[in-house]
């Protein structure tokens, strides 16, 4: 009995020790890495996670800009947790005393409001991307809320669909893999596909299925779709490249890779490689490198007074960025400049990729 008691006790002690060391570790992490000089603003990037290729490239772009501008840069990761995302930003605002420029991809649509309000209150400059409520406008928070950037999902979905239709010769059956049902990007890209289908009556949409943005789900789904439609499937439309690459591997398992063209959105490396080998017909990217760097550049230029946000036209405050199409024609060049080396960006060209104001 005594033995067991001491065993239990030893367990308790080690657990407590563990807690203490964990707390100590957390405290160390929370300490500021460098003490900043008061005059130069800190660049802050707030993104969802580093576990997806998209945001990893975003961070690379942000770091490239920070290096170019000679400023300190901090990346905050929300891990898909809205509260953590907002709390981290508020902590940074307190630490920098508002002397910072934030480029944020808010975890969820409603998050944009508290983020913008906190920045405006602290006097920091903020640029948001992708997600914001429809009634939240940069012009209501002059000068702190500089811009909001999105990419037109309808036009992306439509562009890749048209290229797919052209690749399969303008007629035949296709299957489509959609993203998580409730997300804006999934809904918009599907709208684009529908628009392209309406304009091409000879193309038949055999089935639209949802693979929740994931290659693993697309892999299983594609096998099942092959059973149902077999050789009737002439092409595959995927709402993102990750699902497209899952579908590609399912085709490969059946010796069909390269015979059934796939199109996707995002421009991840796997997809770019597949465009080079001809297994993908095309992919389109919002260019996260540009998003990560230029978001900070726009905010920083407003902060140092290069331009006055209040005097900018509406299409500089809420705009669609220009997506980059990667197809057979330009893939080798894209590969050389974006994959084999880091892209060269003209960080002074703030408004070069504006394609128009966001639809109300």
């Amino acid at each position: 009995m005594k033995d067991r008691n001491s065993l239990t006790l030893s367990g308790t002690i080690s657990r407590r020790t563990l807690m203490v060391s964990a707390a100590a570790g957390a405290a160390t992490l929370a300490m500021p890495k460098v003490l900043r000089a008061a005059d130069k603003p800190t660049l802050v990037t707030s993104i969802r996670s580093l576990s997806n290729p998209y945001h990893a490239v975003w961070k690379t772009g942000a770091e490239a800009y920070a290096k170019w501008a000679g400023l300190e840069h901090v990346t905050l990761v929300s891990e898909g947790n809205s509260e953590k995302g907002i709390a981290d930003i508020k902590a940074m605002l307190a630490k920098t005393n508002g002397n910072m420029v934030l480029n944020s991809d808010p975890n969820d649509t409603p998050d944009a409001r508290p983020i913008v309000e906190a920045c405006a209150k602290a006097g920091a400059y903020v640029v948001t991307q992708w997600n914001k409520p429809a009634d939240l406008h940069p012009k209501d928070f002059n000068p702190n809320y500089v811009s909001h950037i999105e990419f037109d999902g309808i036009s992306s979905g439509k562009t890749i669909a048209e290229i797919l239709f052209k690749t399969i010769g303008g007629k035949g059956g296709i299957v489509a893999l959609g993203g998580l049902i409730s997300t804006t990007a999934a809904i918009e890209r599907k709208k684009g596909l529908d628009a392209a289908l309406a304009a091409n009556p000879d193309i038949k949409l055999l089935d639209f299925q949802v693979a929740n943005w994931k290659s693993t789900e697309a892999f299983d789904l594609m096998g099942n779709l092959l059973t149902r439609f077999g050789d009737d499937i002439k092409g595959i439309w995927a709402a993102n490249d990750d699902m497209g690459s899952g579908a590609l591997e399912a085709l490969r398992a059946e010796n069909l890779a390269g015979k059934v063209p796939i199109v996707g959105v995002d421009g991840i490396k796997t997809a770019v490689d597949a465009v080079r080998t001809g297994e993908f017909a095309c992919t389109v990217t919002s260019d996260p490198f540009w998003q990560g760097g230029m978001g900070l550049a726009i905010g920083y230029n407003a902060k140092i007074g290069k331009f006055d946000p209040a005097k900018e036209p509406p299409e500089h405050r809420e705009f669609y960025g220009k997506a980059v199409l990667i197809s057979h024609d330009n893939v080798e060049e894209y590969y050389k400049t974006n994959v084999e080396s880091k892209p060269e960006m003209d960080w002074n060209d703030l408004w070069g990729r504006v394609t128009g104001a966001i639809r109300a």
Partner: protein, 346 residues
């Protein structure tokens, strides 16, 4: 005059109980009563197959059966490991973390498009070892620090996920080793090698459960841990061994997943935990432990896979597929467990 109310009260109690168990009781009788209860998941599977075949004869085409086997390979291997843990009455939430670590190790050590390594099949071995070590740590944390398996493995899940995010630098890395890719692409007797590996994993799990001391001790712990301990079984050692064994299967599944997708990224395991738990439970293994086994799990995995395949073949809208899946899970569990015997439902 006094009336003794005691007998009356107890009669009404009995009546209430009878009423409450009347409906499940009827269902039980309909399906042949308690004796055939164990076969209920199999019956569900057969009925499902027959219904789908009637609706779309493509289902029993050889090509489709091969595809079914192929998409069942990873879930089956995962679920084999998980079965032992659930049989003990514990849970292992580290499925996705361990799987992504194994997939990360195999991709980074074999020929890939990120570094110069090319260790071939040593990479596979290393991945399986990594999975086993993850499981071993889960077991040690649980028994030595006396942390419930739910929390211990939740921690291991995040540790594993964090590790692969860090090692992969957040991006997807391609697996270029042709011989490892052959696990998914090369076919032996018409079936991809991955399916044979999964069949091997099943055979191994069956041998462990039915023919080794470890298997029996695991079942005994799930039945009643105190009694098992008093019978002289070293419960701590069995628990650690079971978690390491689960990690071993997760490691194999990680290699298969990487081979199938031809790449590895940190979220390669996304959604696998839930699928595996569903398969184990639908197969008739009780979450409380001590009941069920790897054969049940095989049927559970097949039910889940056939259902996913069938819904596409029947052209069920993606917007209601999850609802159908939920209904099927409830139906399968309702049929496979003897609800009447349950005194408490938590």
């Amino acid at each position: 005059m006094t009336i003794d109310t005691e007998p009356l009260k107890s009669v009404s109690d009995i009546e209430r109980t009878t009423l409450m168990t009347f409906i499940p009781g009827r269902i039980a009788v309909m399906f042949g009563g308690r004796r055939w209860r164990g076969l209920a998941p199999l019956a569900v599977l057969v009925v499902l197959c027959v219904l789908i075949t009637i609706a779309n004869p493509n289902f029993i085409e050889l090509r489709n059966l091969v595809r079914l086997a192929n998409s069942a390979a990873v879930p089956l291997t995962l679920a084999m490991g998980l079965t032992f843990i659930i049989l003990m009455g514990s849970i292992d939430l580290s499925v996705e973390g361990t799987l992504s670590v194994a997939a990360m190790v195999v991709v980074l050590l074999a020929a890939n498009d990120s570094n110069g390594n090319d260790y071939g099949w040593w990479a596979v071995l290393a991945a399986v070892v990594a999975g086993t070590v993850m499981g071993l740590i889960s077991g040690l944390v649980q028994t030595m620090l006396r942390i419930p398996s739910f929390m211990a493995t939740l921690g291991m899940w995040f540790i594993g996920l964090g590790l692969s995010v860090y090692m992969l630098g957040g991006s997807a890395i391609r697996l270029n080793d042709a011989s490892i890719r052959d696990l998914a692409l090369y076919r032996f007797l018409g079936l991809p090698l991955a399916v044979w590996v999964a069949v091997g994993a099943f055979a191994l799990a069956a041998i462990i459960q039915y023919h080794t001391r470890l298997g029996r001790h695991i079942l005994a712990i799930g039945g009643d841990e105190d009694v098992t301990k008093l019978s002289g079984v070293n419960v701590t050692r069995v628990r650690i061994a079971a978690f390491a064994l689960a990690g071993f299967f997760f490691g194999i599944a990680g290699v298969l997943a990487a081979a199938q997708l031809g790449q590895s990224h940190a979220v390669i395991g996304d959604g696998r935990l839930f699928a595996a738990v569903t398969a184990v439970v639908v197969g008739g293994t009780a979450l409380t432990g001590g009941e069920g086994g790897v054969v049940n799990t095989l049927i559970g995995v097949l039910i889940v896979t056939v259902l996913a395949n069938g819904m596409i073949l029947l052209g069920i809208s993606p917007y209601i597929q999850q609802t159908v899946q939920g209904l099927m899970i409830i139906a399968a569990v309702a049929l496979s467990l003897d609800r009447v015997r349950l005194k408490i439902v938590k």
